[in-house]
């Protein structure tokens, strides 16, 4: 299969990006890292006639954090940039971990977090932690902006609610309160250059008595999209977690999962691992939350 032909646009402003997306809406794709898109195009799975590059647009790579407002990750911020960001490492360790271990060094230097989400693979490494942190996506088009909760963003493998002409301008992640803990764990047979066979992310916030005020749990690679686990979250909220409760919540995560057999793992293994990883994620998150600082 030869690489299809296409035209590359390299605008310098967001306005021109949106113009181009609008103008070519039937056959256009955004290009930033290109690490997923170009592979799909070479395999013939995608053949847009126009690529609009974000690489020369000023201001889209910014990562900013403000107490109270939380974290804003620019639509063109590289995965490695996010993984190395001091605020992300301190407050959002699950996301930092995902951004430090996924794919390869080179791919992380090229690819963006926004691209990882828009690509919408069930195994997208940044999706599970961002779901756990309650992130939203800021989508922009010529007509305006809207904020989409990440939990509502994915509709199927490779599919999102983004409309033609729309793009991710930024990812917003709520601030993390004191007495919070979070964690992301992924499993694969090899340490790197890999797609996780199962992944689990968790976030816990405790009150002064050690009761869970807020819990979010998310799973990767065990359904058609990255998943949240509302039932498991409810089991924990308002409770003081112990080993038994954590095991119950993990079991609820297993019920939320809809894994399949593929060449990376069987459904049975994935289900079992959701239980194991969810327990570990919750235990580690709880320890961190009890430590007083997120």
């Amino acid at each position: 299969m030869a690489m299809p032909q296409f035209q590359v646009h390299q605008p310098k402003t967001l306005e021109s990006v949106l113009d181009l997306l609008g103008r070519h809406r039937s056959s256009v794709k955004l290009l930033c890292g290109g690490t997923d898109l170009l592979i799909k195009m070479r395999a013939g799975a995608q053949a847009p006639e126009h690529l609009v590059s974000l690489n020369r647009v000023a201001g889209l790579k910014t990562i900013s954090y403000a107490g109270g407002d939380g974290l804003v990750i620019g639509g063109a911020a590289r995965i490695s940039q996010v993984g190395k960001n001091a605020e992300v490492r301190r407050l959002y360790p699950g996301l930092a971990h995902a951004c430090s271990v996924m794919a390869t060094v080179q791919i992380r230097n090229m690819g963006t977090v926004a691209g990882n989400l828009v690509n919408a693979a069930p195994s997208a490494d940044t999706a599970a932690p961002l779901l756990a942190y309650g992130a939203s996506v800021v989508a922009v088009e010529r007509g305006g902006r809207r904020q989409i909760k990440l939990v509502d963003f994915f509709t199927g493998p490779g599919l999102t609610v983004l409309e033609p002409g729309e793009m991710v301008e930024a990812i917003r992640v709520p601030d993390v309160s004191p007495r919070s803990g979070s964690c992301y764990l992924r499993l694969s047979a090899r340490s790197k250059v890999d797609i996780a066979a199962v992944s689990v992310a968790g976030f816990l916030n405790l009150d002064l008595e050690g009761r869970v005020i807020r819990c979010r749990l998310a799973l990767g690679s065990v359904g058609p999209t990255p998943l949240r686990c509302p039932e498991a979250e409810q089991i924990l909220e308002g409770q003081t977690p112990d080993e038994k409760l954590i095991a119950q919540a993990a079991a609820a995560c297993v019920r939320a999962s809809r894994p399949i057999d593929d060449l990376r793992a069987t459904a049975a293994y994935r289900r079992a691992m959701v239980q194991v990883l969810a327990q570990r994620v919750l235990t580690q998150s709880l320890d961190m939350a009890k430590g007083g600082t997120p």
Binding site: A2, S191, K192, T266, A268
Partner: protein, 758 residues
């Protein structure tokens, strides 16, 4: 025996500076004026008749210079076993029938790669599907269809070994165990995808630059398939980005490039993609193995009945050799008073399996070593002790194979026990942790001549010059393992000149002496090393008379070649420089250059190998019993490769072999669907270990002096690829109780064995 200082030294590879700066040229780096780019059309079906091929649209595409199918080529079947013509079962392009997904059906060359690919997409082929045969069990079942009409029952080759009183010995045995094993396919995964460029400057002559381990084999088979005299085909050196057994045959793209270069009068290049390599390339044989072993209650081996079906895929490739060697490796490490081997090479509709580092031994040893560990456990004997009881030693005879002329196996077992802290750690077992052992023996090149060469197995030509330099010309190939440096070390040692003074010409079938069978079977160090020594000795014989005349020496004197000088051994002051000696010798030869050729073919060494390496390895693992993930924490190795020529190169072989063995045991696997299509065709999903997966290692050298080897050297390339998988398997068993009988070990299998997944 004391070797010259340059032997055994860790000399950096002489080609390393070119490789670290990007100057080293590999086949795909070559570009020639008017060069065309070739592409292959491959079968999408695993078993089908070709009813019709229409290439008219492809031919009509602007920029396309040639399109060929099986109907256009001389239909001469080829294969490396020329001695057994009926084993030669392959055509560069399929005629009438395709036998695996990826079987080459047509080839195109065009002015650029995209045009060639476009033309390939325009070729129409009508197939009639045939029933698929995707396992050895299906292939050998009653009433199975045939992959090749000539091979009844789909068995292309049978190998039997039988000695000793098998039934009698089993009757005497206190302990007998019978097990069946299955081992899976893995790939060489050399980093450089195959590539070649052919150029035909004169009618009916062609030169091929190709990524190969066996230029001589490619030359001969290319000549026969093109219908040309051997001398009309020249195969030339490029850097080869790894081989591991995967680049040792004539390949369809080499034929197509040459054939189309001759037809178009323009150079033609083919370069494969990684997906081509993973989906269609050669691989290590999957096998179904039955093995029955008998021991006395004291752990003495009495008998082994070893029955193997090799899943050869659609063509023989190097499968017959693997079938032969699997049997030979089944009894190489230990003394078996009675041994029976029944090996069958079976055709299936899968990409052909072939040689891969270890060549039948990783599979045979996986079984032998695993059963050894099972027996040790059942008999209550330490796994190292039971091996020592049965270990081969110097002077032992492998019936019908060889007398072992050097063997440090027992020393290896003792050493590895010591460096790993085996006794101590086994006394204090820790949850989820375990130590396991695997051992190996390997050949230092084969004595067998299935290729039926008329020439010596290895050859070298040495020329020396009055400026004190020398040239070494040999067909032996460096595919990354380092003979370009090691051979110069040997020559430098022989002539006593600095290694920098030796220029090397290698791997050119037109200018280097015939022949060399190539880099496989761990043969180069021993065989080519001996050829270099032979040539050097002849050169020295030409030089020594100069000194006798010059110094008016008594005939009892010996002459030494050291430090760039030629001198009287008993009186080192009496001598001249090497260059001066050459100059004087030349003066007496009236213009005839000082050139000598050396050769090596094993003599009186049986029919398998002139020398055998040995070794033992211990793996230390930590298993996460929640997830089943296995971390190999450390590898301990003790090995006997004779006297190493280049210590650093030997270490490199060991460390690289561990990577391959670890991948084989835990991660790598070619996964196929029920249509015979390979599913994991990227390095994302064909999981070979990364830098982060590699454990630290500790090794101990056991130096033996192999009388047949150059400066006492034996092989170090392939043997080391054998023990890692059985050692890890054993360690996982010690850590968890899970014994892998069907490779690879996966986290899921571990958890199922622990009853954590129902």
């Amino acid at each position: 025996m004391k070797n010259p200082a340059i032997i055994g030294k860790s000399i950096p590879r002489m080609d390393a500076p070119a490789k670290v700066t990007g100057r080293a040229l590999y086949a795909d780096d070559l570009k020639m004026p008017a060069m065309l780019h070739g592409k292959l059309l491959r079968s999408p079906l695993a078993h089908a008749l070709i009813k019709r091929i229409d290439v008219s649209k492809a031919k009509a595409l602007p920029g396309v210079k040639d399109v060929i199918t099986g109907a256009d080529i001389p239909q001469v079947k080829y294969g490396n076993w020329r001695l057994v013509p009926q084993s030669q079962d392959e055509l560069a392009l399929a005629v009438d029938k395709v036998r695996f997904v990826g079987d080459e059906v047509a080839a195109v060359c065009a002015i650029d790669a995209d045009t060639a690919q476009h033309a390939i997409d325009l070729i129409e082929v009508e197939y009639e599907e045939l029933p698929l045969i995707l396992s050895v069990e299906e292939a050998t079942a009653e009433g199975a269809g045939l992959v090749h009409d000539e091979s009844k029952g789909n068995v292309s080759l049978v190998r039997k070994i039988d000695y000793g009183d098998l039934e009698g010995m089993f009757a005497k045995a206190d302990y007998i165990r019978e097990d069946t094993f299955k081992v899976h396919p893995v790939q060489h995964a050399y980093m450089e995808p195959c590539s070649c460029v052919a150029h035909s400057e004169e009618a009916n002559r062609v030169t091929l630059w190709t990524s190969t381990q066996t230029p001589y084999i490619v030359q001969c088979l290319l000549a026969s398939t093109l219908g040309l005299p051997e001398n009309n085909v020249r195969v030339m050196k490029v850097q080869v980005g790894g081989g591991f057994g995967g680049k040792m045959e004539l390949r369809p793209w080499e034929f197509c490039a040459s054939f189309m270069a001759m037809r178009t009068g323009r150079p033609v290049k083919f370069t494969l993609t990684r997906a081509d390599e993973l989906a269609f390339g050669r691989r290590r044989h999957p096998m179904s193995i039955y093995s029955k072993v008998g021991f006395t209650k004291d752990g003495k081996l009495l008998a082994k009945d070893f029955q193997v079906m090799l899943d050869g895929g659609a063509y023989n490739a190097m499968g017959p050799t693997a079938t032969f060697l699997c049997g030979t490796f089944g009894n190489m490490l230990y003394n078996y008073p009675a041994y029976r081997y029944f090996g069958r090479h079976v055709y299936t509709n899968k990409p052909p399996a072939s040689a891969m580092r270890g060549f039948g031994a990783p599979q045979a040893a996986f079984v032998a070593e695993t059963q050894m560990n099972m027996a040790a456990e059942d008999l209550g004997i330490d796994p190292i002790d039971i091996r020592i009881i049965n270990a081969m030693q110097t002077g032992d005879v492998i019936p019908d194979v060889a007398t072992i002329s050097s063997c440090g196996f027992k020393e290896c077992l003792e050493k590895v026990r010591e460096i790993s802290g085996w006794d101590e750690k086994r006394k204090n077992p820790k949850q989820g942790k375990g130590l396991g052992i695997g051992c190996f023996s390997f050949i230092s090149g084969g004595v067998f001549n299935w290729f039926n060469t008329k020439y010596n197995f290895s050859a070298a030509e040495v020329s020396v010059y009055e400026d004190g330099t020398a040239q070494l010309a040999t067909m032996a190939c460096d595919i990354g393992q380092g003979p370009d440096t090691a051979m110069r070390q040997i020559l430098a040692a022989e002539l006593g000149i600095p290694i920098e003074n030796i220029r090397l010409i290698a791997m050119d079938t037109a200018t280097t002496p015939k022949a060399d069978l190539g880099s496989w079977g761990s043969r180069v160090t021993l065989m080519n090393g001996n050829a270099v020594i032979d040539a050097a000795k002849k050169i020295k014989e030409m030089l020594i008379p100069v000194l006798f005349e010059e110094m008016d020496l008594n005939q009892i004197h010996d002459i030494a070649f050291e430090d760039g000088r030629v001198f009287v051994k008993a009186n080192p002051k009496k001598g001249i420089t090497f260059g001066e000696c050459v100059y004087k010798a030349l003066r007496g030869r009236r213009g005839e250059p000082l050139t000598a050729r050396g050769f090596y073919t094993p003599r009186n060494k049986g029919l398998v190998s002139p020398a055998f390496s040995f070794g033992a390895q211990i793996a230390e693992v930590d298993v996460d019993t929640g997830t089943g993930l296995i971390k190999v924490e450390k590898m301990y190795t003790a090995h006997d490769c004779g006297m190493p020529i280049n210590k650093m190169a030997v270490e490199g072989q060991l460390e690289g072999a561990i990577q391959m063995g670890l991948g084989y045991a835990l991660m790598e696997n070619l996964i196929m669907d029920d249509k015979g299509r390979t599913l994991n065709t990227t390095f994302l999903d064909y999981k070979m270990p990364t830098a982060e997966d590699m454990p630290p290692g500790e090794s101990a050298d056991v130096f033996t002096y192999e009388p047949e080897g150059p400066y006492g050297a034996k092989e170090a390339g392939e043997g080391l690829a054998i023990p890692t998988a059985p050692a890890i398997t054993h360690a996982v068993h010690e850590a968890t109780g899970y014994r892998c009988m069907e490779t690879p070990i996966t986290p899921e299998k571990v958890l199922r064995a622990l009853d954590k997944i129902k």
